[in-house]
Each structure stands twice: as structure tokens, then as C-alpha cells.
């Protein structure tokens, strides 16, 4: 057919075949999801009207929004170290070079399950257990850390030079001492950097969780939208934007400090 001397030329047309199948899949998905581009243009005026209803922002609730924003920050501030502590345990248990195979596979399994669950699913479950409120929100955020931080820590520990661990072990130490003096010094800076990043993620996540009842500025936004009080909602949205931007700046600043310090002394 298309081959000469057993050389198959068809391999050079495969990209086209992949693109065609991809396009077909996208079309199928659009059809299934009832995508209607016409609706976008027919309802454009409604969108503009809705935007208009959001302005001007309601300045009478600024005080409430600031207070609720602080609650959101407090939730993230409580949840991040708590989640970090849980992740530390799971991360150490998930590293095959210091953890027995049985415990490691359990830890890895739980971490994977957590990663697969969005925070909101965890929260919906916890609300049943603890009731609507801050506590369920904080626990959901803390548990939400484990999937990311636990996995990153476990992987970082597994990358520690085997010879270093061996040489410390040969001093005649217990496993907990090995963790304290050989494992943690090597992985802690990266872990702290990840933890700070997770704080930023938790601020954003707590806004979303707030809207489903965990409290804070997200809850205020959800309430205002439900009551069709769009000007109040705008104030909440502005508070959220400022909050997220500030937390991003703070996290960037702190992580740069941690990284610079650990690089200087690497």
C-alpha cells in the first residue's frame, strides 16, 4: 500500500486523524449539552440589564462586608495550619522510603480520594455531621489541603537521597528520629512554601464554601443574590476581589521570602 521497503508513511498523517476525532468529540459534547449560540445573542440585552442592576454598589453594607471578609480570612487562617498538620502526617505516611508498604498504600489511597473530591462535596458531607456554620467550613478547607499538600510532601520525601537517609540510619536512630533529623530538614522549606500557597487557595475556596452555608463574605454574596439585592451583591463581590488580590500578593511575597532564604542556605 503506502509502504516502500517496509517503511510505513502513514505515521505522518496521524495528527490530522487525531484532530478530526477531537473535533467530532467536541461537536458531540456541544450537542449533548444543548449549546445554543443563538441564545447568547438573543439574551445579550438581559445581561446588560442585569449588570446595570448591580450598580451602583450599596455602600451601606461596606461595614458588614469588611467584617465578613475578616471572618473568611480567619477561616482560612485556622484551616491552613490544621490542614498542614494533617498533610504532614499523611505525607510522611505516603512516602515509600520511610513508611511501611501497607501504611503507605492506605495513605496514598486516602490522598487520592481526597484529591478527587472537590471541597464543596466534603463540605456538604460535613454540614450533615456538624451542621451549617464556620466549623464545618474550616474542617472542609483543612481536609481539602490533604490531597495537594500530602501528595506533594510524600513525593518530596521520596526524592530525598537514599544514601543520606541510610547514613543517618546507620547512626542507630529510630524512625521518628530519622524523620526529625534527616527528612524534615530536607523537605520543610518546600512544604512551607506550598502551605502559604494553599492559604491563598483556601481564601478563594472559603468564598465558594461560604455561599453554600459555611459563612463569611461568600455567604453574604449568596444571600444578597437570593434576595435579588444586586447592589449589595456588588459590594460583596468587590470585597471578594480585594480580598483575593491581597491574599495573592501576600502569598507571593511570603513565598519569595521563604524561597530566597532556603536558596541562600541550600
Amino acid at each position: 500500500m503506502s509502504g516502500i521497503d517496509g517503511y510505513d508513511f502513514r505515521r505522518y498523517r496521524r495528527p490530522a486523524a487525531y484532530l478530526t476525532s477531537l473535533a467530532a468529540l467536541i461537536a458531540l459534547a456541544a450537542w449533548q449539552a444543548e449549546v445554543d449560540l443563538g441564545m447568547f445573542f438573543r439574551n445579550a440585552d438581559k445581561g446588560v440589564a442585569q449588570l446595570g442592576a448591580h450598580f451602583p454598589p450599596d455602600s451601606s453594607v461596606i461595614g458588614i462586608m469588611v467584617k465578613e471578609s475578616l471572618i473568611t480570612v480567619a477561616m482560612a487562617l485556622l484551616a491552613t495550619p490544621l490542614g498542614g498538620a494533617i498533610s504532614l502526617v499523611f505525607g510522611i505516611a505516603a512516602a515509600k522510603n520511610i513508611s511501611p508498604p501497607f501504611i503507605r498504600s492506605i495513605a496514598r489511597g486516602l490522598i487520592s480520594i481526597e484529591r478527587a473530591l472537590p471541597e464543596i462535596v466534603v463540605l456538604l458531607f460535613l454540614i450533615v455531621v456538624f451542621g451549617i456554620g464556620y466549623f464545618a467550613g474550616i474542617m472542609a478547607l483543612a481536609i481539602g489541603c490533604v490531597g495537594m499538600l500530602g501528595r506533594l510532601l510524600g513525593d518530596a520525601i521520596e526524592e530525598i537521597d537514599k544514601k543520606t537517609l541510610e547514613s543517618v540510619e546507620l547512626v542507630g536512630v529510630t524512625r521518628s528520629q530519622l524523620v526529625r533529623y534527616a527528612v524534615l530538614p530536607e523537605v520543610l522549606p518546600a512544604f512551607i512554601s506550598n502551605l502559604i500557597f494553599r492559604f491563598e487557595v483556601n481564601i478563594r475556596a472559603s468564598v465558594v464554601l461560604g455561599a453554600v452555608g459555611a459563612g463569611g463574605v461568600g455567604y453574604e454574596l449568596g444571600k444578597a443574590m437570593d434576595l435579588s439585592d444586586y447592589q449589595q451583591a456588588t459590594t460583596a463581590i468587590l470585597a471578594i476581589v480585594v480580598l483575593v488580590l491581597l491574599s495573592e500578593r501576600l502569598s507571593d511575597f511570603l513565598r519569595k521570602k521563604v524561597n530566597a532564604k532556603s536558596a541562600a542556605l541550600a
Binding site: 540510619e169 547512626v171 542507630g172 529510630t174 528520629q177 526529625r180 533529623y181 530536607e186 532556603s262 542556605l265
Partner: protein, 285 residues
């Protein structure tokens, strides 16, 4: 004292890596183990450390306890707890040091005593000022006191090796084991390290695996040569050319070439140290 008796190690497929290795080393001896690559030198040492379980044979390690009585360990059949106890009395020095790179030189030295400290204390308190002071004194004896508060990762290979020796000394072991301690060093630093290892053998047995016959001839009191997992020579350190050729076979040429490069490398070794201290952000406090 350490006595190895009929040590054998076979792979599951029946290949023999060590075959009937027997020797004993007492205080005052600095034994250099020589052999081509894959001969089983390091494997023998790893059996002594309890890292590899031998197929047959005894490894008998005895130490004098603080109370003055003699205690004997059979390394090959110890519980994990007893193995830890035995290891506390073995000062191990590896090629490249294998230290914790992010801790300071002094912290790495102090770690030599970690086995004597309860896990609770190591988590909640750490080392006492007295221990820190003693560790500093040992570093000083290695002429490394200026580097005490520098992270080991910033030190050159020769400096790291000296920290590793300091750690082993601080451990106050009953036996020193050195697995290719000078292989990653240039000739000048290799000699420096050999000069530091030699005095350790005054009151404790020292066993080292080496690749350089000229260094073992100069510093060791006895050489054991291993070939294909068997001891082919055990005696005076100054091996004659014929024995060396037998031990190393095809590799002899590379081994023999090394002394000639001493002069050429001596300056470059110094340069490496200089460069390391000039790296940005590594200013000595």
C-alpha cells in the same frame, strides 16, 4: 573488635557475590580493602553494617560498655532494636559523606550521638550545650571550625568528607567503617582525608574500602584484596606489582595512572574549594 567468619552472599539465582570471606580486625589496625569494581568490597562492609543480610557466615562485633564489661553482637541475626544498639558503636563514613545537606556542619556532627538520645528528647529539646560544645571541638580537630554554622550542601567534597569523619568521631564508636571515603576526592584532598583516618586506628579498629593502592600502601597497616567475592590477599600493605595485577586484572591501568595525576590535580582541588566559597549567598558568618 570485629570478626568475620565464612561470610557468603548468594543471589536468588545462585550467583555468588561473596564466598567464604573471613578476617578479623582489632584495635591498632587500619585495614584497607582493595579490589576491582564489583569484587564485593562494599558488599562486605554493608554486611557488617547490617544493611545486607548474608546468606551464610558470622559477623561478630564486640564492644566494651561504659560499665567496663564486654558485649558481643552477631550482626547477621539481630532484632531491629539490637541492630540499632550495635550501629551506635559503628562510626560509618561514606563516599561523599552522605550528610543531611540542609543542616549545618555542626548539626551533622551532633547527629553522630542521635542514637544515644531518646526520640522524645530529639523532638522536643534537641542537643545540650555540652554536646554542641564537644561536637565543635571535634570539628575543630578537623580544622573545620570556621564552617560549623554553614550548611553542608554549601561545602566542597573534601570539606563534607571531613564533616563526615567528625560525625563518626563524635559518635565515639568501637569500630570505624569507611566505604570509599576518598573516591570522590581529588588526590590532594584524598591524602588529607587519609591523614585524618589514620590516627583513628590507634585505639579502635578501622576498616576502609579504597580504590587507590598507593594510598593504602602509604597509610594502612594491612591490606585485604578481594576478587570475585573471595579474599585473594591478606597481609602487608605494600603489594608487589604482580599481586596488584592479579587483583585488578584489566582495571590495573586506570588504578596505576592515578598517582601520576597528583601534581596536575593538586591545584585544581584547591580551586574547587575556593569556587565553593565564592558562590553567591554563601558568605561565611
Amino acid at each position: 573488635m570485629i570478626r568475620i567468619d565464612g561470610l557468603c552472599k548468594k543471589l536468588p539465582d545462585g550467583r555468588s557475590l561473596l564466598n567464604n570471606i573471613s578476617f578479623s580486625v582489632k584495635a591498632g589496625e587500619f585495614v584497607g580493602i582493595l579490589g576491582g569494581s564489583g569484587a564485593g568490597k562494599s558488599l562486605t562492609l554493608r554486611c557488617v553494617m547490617g544493611l545486607v543480610q548474608p546468606t551464610a557466615g558470622d559477623i561478630i562485633f564486640s564492644r566494651t560498655k561504659a560499665s567496663g564489661e564486654e558485649e558481643t553482637f552477631c550482626i547477621q541475626n539481630l532484632s531491629e532494636r539490637r541492630l540499632r544498639e550495635a550501629r551506635r558503636d559503628m562510626g560509618v563514613i561514606f563516599q561523599g559523606g552522605n550528610l543531611v545537606k540542609r543542616l549545618t556542619a555542626l548539626e551533622n556532627v551532633m547527629m553522630g550521638r542521635l542514637g544515644h538520645i531518646s526520640p522524645v528528647r530529639s523532638w522536643l529539646y534537641g542537643f545540650t550545650d555540652q554536646e554542641a560544645k564537644e561536637a565543635y571541638e571535634v570539628l575543630k580537630s578537623m580544622k573545620m571550625e570556621d564552617y560549623a554554622s554553614r550548611r553542608v550542601g554549601n561545602l566542597s567534597g573534601g570539606e563534607q568528607q571531613r564533616v563526615a569523619i567528625a560525625r563518626a568521631i563524635f559518635q565515639k564508636p568501637a569500630l570505624y567503617l569507611a566505604d570509599e571515603p576518598v573516591s570522590s576526592l581529588d588526590p590532594k584532598n584524598a591524602r588529607k582525608v587519609m591523614k585524618l583516618l589514620k590516627p583513628l586506628s590507634k585505639d579502635k579498629p578501622v576498616i576502609g574500602v579504597f580504590h587507590q593502592p598507593h594510598l593504602t600502601a602509604e597509610f594502612c597497616t594491612r591490606v585485604i584484596a578481594i576478587k570475585g567475592g573471595e579474599i585473594v590477599y591478606d597481609g602487608a600493605p605494600d603489594l608487589d606489582a604482580a599481586t596488584l595485577a592479579m587483583v585488578y586484572e584489566g582495571e590495573l591501568e586506570e588504578v596505576a595512572r592515578e598517582p601520576a595525576s597528583v601534581a596536575a590535580d593538586a591545584s585544581s582541588g584547591f580551586a574547587a574549594e575556593e569556587v565553593a566559597s565564592l558562590r553567591p549567598g554563601t558568605i561565611t558568618p
